[in-house]
C-alpha cells in the first residue's frame, strides 16, 4: 500500500499546472467570461495537451493512463477555473470523433429538476446523455433551448430545455454508461477539489496582505481559523477523491460506487464551503465582480448539480450502510 503520488504522477500534475498557469491564467478566464463563449483555440490546446485522452489507449492517440491520473489533471483544471464541458468531452473521447483532440466540444445532457438545463448550448458540437440502457448521442440542434439571460456562473451559460428531448442514438452499452457515470462523478469531484484548493490559496494570500487595525488580517485568529478550516476541508476531500479514483482503477479493495459517492459529497461540500469562506475572508471587496473569489463559489454551485448533488449521494451512502 502506498497512497502517495508516484514520481510520474507528480510530474504529470506539475506539467499540467505549468501549462494552465501559462495558457489559462485567471485573466484569460475573465476574458472568456466577457466574451460569453468558449475559446475554441484554447479548447484545442487542452486537447493537444492530452486532457481529454488521458485514459485512451495509445493506439487511439491516448496516454493509456488511469482515472487516478485523470483526477490529478482535473484537479488542476478546477484549480484554474477552466470553463466548459470538460468532464463530458473527456467521457465522450472513445465515442465521438474529435472529442479526444479538442476539435469537438461535447456536452452532456442530464435531465434535472425542477427544470432541465443544457450548459454551454451555443458552444456544443455534439451531445450525449447517460441512460440506464446505455450512452445515447443526441444532435444538439434537435433540442430546443431558451437562453438563460443571467446564469449564476457567467462562465457556464445555460439554456432551459423546453419540450421533449429526442431519445438519441445508442452509441455505447449500459455497462459503458455506468462506468462513465462513475468516472464522471470522480472527475467532477476532482474539479471541485481544485476549486476548494484555489479558494484556500486566494483567501490565504489576501489574508497575508490586507491590513486592518494596523496589521494583516491573517494574524487575527478569527480569520486564521477560517483559512485553516478551508485547508482541512480541501485536504479531507483530496483523500476522498484520490481514494475513489484509485478504486475505479482497481487498485484498492474499496467499493468504487460508495467511494465515488463519498468523493462527490466531500469535494462538493468543500468547494461550496471554501467558495463561501473565500468571499468572507475578502470582506466587502469579495462581494464584487472584480474579485475572483466569488467565481469559485459560483462554479462550485454549478458542479454540485452534476451527477447528483451531495444530498442525493448522502442518500446513496445511507442505503449502503
Amino acid at each position: 500500500m502506498d497512497f502517495e503520488l508516484t514520481d510520474d504522477q507528480v510530474s504529470l500534475q506539475e506539467g499540467v499546472r505549468a501549462f494552465l498557469d501559462g495558457r489559462f491564467p485567471l485573466d484569460t478566464v475573465r476574458e472568456i467570461e466577457a466574451a460569453g463563449h468558449l475559446d475554441r483555440g484554447r479548447w484545442a490546446e487542452l486537447g493537444e495537451t492530452g486532457v481529454f485522452s488521458i485514459t485512451l489507449a495509445e493506439a487511439d492517440g491516448g496516454l493509456e493512463l488511469g482515472v487516478s491520473e485523470a483526477a490529478l489533471v482535473f484537479e488542476e483544471l478546477g484549480r484554474a477555473l477552466v470553463p466548459g464541458p470538460l468532464v463530458a468531452t473527456f467521457l465522450a473521447a472513445p465515442w465521438i470523433d474529435g472529442a479526444a483532440t479538442g476539435e469537438t466540444i461535447v456536452g452532456r445532457f442530464e435531465p434535472g429538476t425542477p427544470v432541465s438545463v443544457l450548459e454551454h448550448p451555443a458552444d456544443l458540437d455534439a451531445l450525449f446523455t447517460l441512460t440506464s440502457d446505455g450512452v445515447r448521442r443526441i444532435e444538439p440542434a434537435t433540442i430546443a433551448t431558451r437562453p438563460v439571460e443571467r446564469p449564476i456562473d457567467a462562465l457556464t451559460p445555460l439554456g432551459i430545455v423546453d419540450g421533449d428531448v429526442p431519445a438519441g442514438e445508442l452509441i455505447a452499452d449500459a455497462a459503458a454508461a455506468e462506468r462513465a457515470r462513475l468516472v464522471g462523478i470522480v472527475l467532477t469531484s476532482a474539479l471541485q477539489l481544485g476549486l476548494a484548493l484555489r479558494s484556500t490559496e486566494l483567501a490565504t494570500a489576501y489574508a497575508k496582505e490586507r491590513e486592518q487595525f494596523g496589521r494583516v488580517i491573517g494574524s487575527f485568529q478569527a480569520v486564521k481559523h477560517l483559512c485553516a478550516d478551508m485547508l482541512v476541508r480541501a485536504e479531507v476531500a483530496r483523500a476522498a477523491v484520490y481514494a475513489a479514483a484509485v478504486a475505479l482503477d482497481g487498485r484498492s479493495d474499496d467499493d468504487p460506487v460508495r467511494a465515488a459517492a463519498a468523493a462527490k459529497i466531500l469535494a462538493g461540500d468543500a468547494a461550496i464551503a471554501n467558495g463561501k469562506t473565500g468571499i468572507q475572508v475578502h470582506g466587502g471587496i469579495g462581494y464584487t465582480w472584480e474579485v475572483d473569489a466569488q467565481r469559485f463559489w459560483k462554479r462550485a454551485t454549478v458542479l454540485d448539480t452534476h451527477f447528483g448533488n451531495s444530498d442525493e449521494h448522502a442518500e446513496a451512502v445511507a442505503a449502503m450502510l
Partner: protein
C-alpha cells in the same frame, strides 16, 4: 497511488487473523469500564499475549524488542484487531505510544534496558504528567518545580488529566528545573515511580461521572537524578518527540471504531419508531448519517495518506493536525445526531428498555473531549494556519 496490499502485507494480515482467531475465544468477558483493577489485569494480560506472540510494540524497532513493522503493517494490525474486536491498547496507551517511543529516542541504555521490556510485556503501566491546572494549551508555562538536592530532584506541584494515574507504575513527567530562562528552556523530562512517598493521587470526576483522569499532587517527592531522560532543561525538545507520536497514528483505531458506531447507529435507527415510522424513514436524519459515513470514509482515506507519508518520510507532518481537526469535529457532529435520533432514549447513560443506547451515549460524551484532548481544535487551527498556510503569529 495504490491502496492494494503487497503479498508480504497480505501474509502479515493472514497470520495475524489466524492468531486472533485462535486466542480471542479463550479471552474472558471484558470488565466494566469503571472496574479499574480488573481493567488493568485485562489490558496488561492482553499485552502479555501480544508479547508472547511477537506482536508487542508492533511499530517499535526490533533492536528495542519491537516487531519493527512498517506503517502499513501497523495499519493492518490495528485494522485486524479492531475487526476481531480484540482488546484495545487501553492502559498500555501511554507506555506503548508516548513514553516508550520517547525512551527509544532519548533515554540512556540503562533506562531503555529496564523500562522498555516492562512496557512490552505489560508489566508496567505508565501515565502522563504533562498538563497542569494553569498549563493546558500553553503547556510550556508549566510550573511543577524540581529542585536539585544531591543525587535527587525534589518535586513540588500538581499535574492534571493524568489518565489511569491511580493504576500506573510510572509517570512520564515534565518539571520545571530552571525558572530564570524562557519557558521552553527550563523544562526537564523525568521518569517518576508512582509509589514514591509524597505523591497523592485523586480521581477527577469527568462530566460523564466517571474517574478516568486523575489529579496528582507532589509534596517534596524525591526523584533520583538518574531518572531524568535527556539533558537537564532539554525536556521540551524531548517532549516534542512524544507529541508528534500523539498526533500521528494514535487515532487509527478510533476511525474504525467510529465507522462501526455509524453502522450500528443506522441499525438502531431502523428499529426505533417515532410517530408510527422508524427513525430511519426520516429522510433528513438518514441523509445526515449517510453524509457522516462518507466523511468517515474520507478520514480513513486520509489516514492511509498519512501512513503512506510516514512510510516514505518517517514523518506524519501536518496531515496529523488536519486529521485531528476534521475527525474530532465529525465525532461531535455524530454525537449531536445520535442525541436527536435517540430522542427521549438519549437521556440515560445506560441502555434503556433493552435498547443498546448506552454505548452511543458514552461515545457522544467522549466526543466532547475529543475537540479538547491532544491539542484543542483551536490550537490545531493555529498550527495549520501558521505552519502550513504561513499566516503570521498573533503575539
Amino acid at each position: 497511488m495504490d491502496l492494494r496490499y503487497t503479498a508480504a502485507e497480505q501474509q502479515f494480515r493472514a497470520d495475524l487473523r489466524e492468531w486472533l482467531g485462535d486466542v480471542l475465544p479463550g479471552l474472558g468477558p471484558e470488565p466494566h469500564r469503571e472496574d479499574w483493577e480488573a481493567r488493568r489485569a485485562w489490558d496488561t494480560g492482553w499485552q502479555r499475549m501480544l508479547y508472547d506472540a511477537g506482536y508487542a510494540g508492533i511499530n517499535w524497532p526490533k533492536e528495542f524488542g519491537g516487531r519493527g513493522a512498517t506503517p502499513a503493517e501497523h495499519l493492518i494490525f490495528i485494522e485486524e484487531t479492531e475487526r476481531a474486536r480484540a482488546p484495545y491498547v487501553g492502559m498500555n496507551f501511554v507506555g506503548l505510544l508516548h513514553a516508550g517511543p520517547t525512551l527509544i529516542a532519548e533515554a540512556s541504555d540503562e533506562q531503555k534496558a529496564f523500562h522498555l521490556p516492562g512496557i512490552l510485556k505489560g508489566e508496567h503501566v505508565w501515565c502522563q504528567g504533562f498538563s497542569e491546572p494553569n498549563a493546558g494549551s500553553d503547556l510550556a508555562s508549566l510550573r511543577c518545580r524540581a529542585v536539585r538536592d544531591g543525587d535527587d530532584y525534589v518535586v513540588n506541584g500538581q499535574k492534571i488529566w493524568t489518565s489511569y494515574g491511580h493504576m500506573a507504575d510510572y509517570c512520564e513527567m515534565l518539571v520545571r528545573t530552571d525558572t530564570e530562562v524562557p519557558k521552553h528552556k527550563g523544562i526537564s523530562w523525568l521518569i517518576v515511580p508512582m509509589k514514591t512517598p509524597g505523591i497523592d493521587i485523586r480521581p477527577l470526576e469527568t462530566m460523564e461521572g466517571t474517574a478516568e483522569f486523575c489529579e496528582v499532587f507532589f509534596d517534596d517527592v524525591r526523584i533520583p537524578v538518574v531518572n531524568r531522560v535527556g539533558d537537564e532543561n532539554d525536556g521540551w525538545r524531548v517532549t516534542m518527540v512524544t507529541l508528534s507520536f500523539e498526533r500521528g497514528t494514535a487515532f487509527v483505531s478510533d476511525v474504525l471504531e467510529s465507522m462501526e458506531l455509524v453502522r450500528d447507529l443506522a441499525e438502531l435507527a431502523k428499529t426505533i419508531t417515532s410517530n408510527g415510522a422508524t427513525r430511519w424513514e426520516d429522510a433528513g436524519l438518514r441523509r445526515e448519517i449517510g453524509r457522516i459515513a462518507a466523511e468517515f470514509d474520507a478520514l480513513w482515506a486520509l489516514t492511509k495518506r498519512n501512513i503512506s507519508q510516514a512510510q516514505r518520510t518517517g514523518l506524519v507532518g501536518v496531515g496529523g493536525n488536519v486529521f485531528k481537526i476534521a475527525w474530532s469535529d465529525l465525532r461531535q457532529h455524530l454525537g449531536d445526531v445520535t442525541m436527536r435520533l435517540l430522542d427521549r432514549a438519549s437521556l440515560s447513560l445506560d441502555d434503556v428498555s433493552e435498547l443498546p443506547t448506552g454505548r452511543h451515549i458514552h461515545a457522544r460524551f467522549y466526543a466532547i473531549s475529543m475537540t479538547i484532548a491532544a491539542g484543542t481544535s483551536q490550537v490545531n487551527r493555529n498550527i495549520v494556519g501558521e505552519r502550513v498556510l504561513g499566516l503570521p503569529k498573533d503575539r
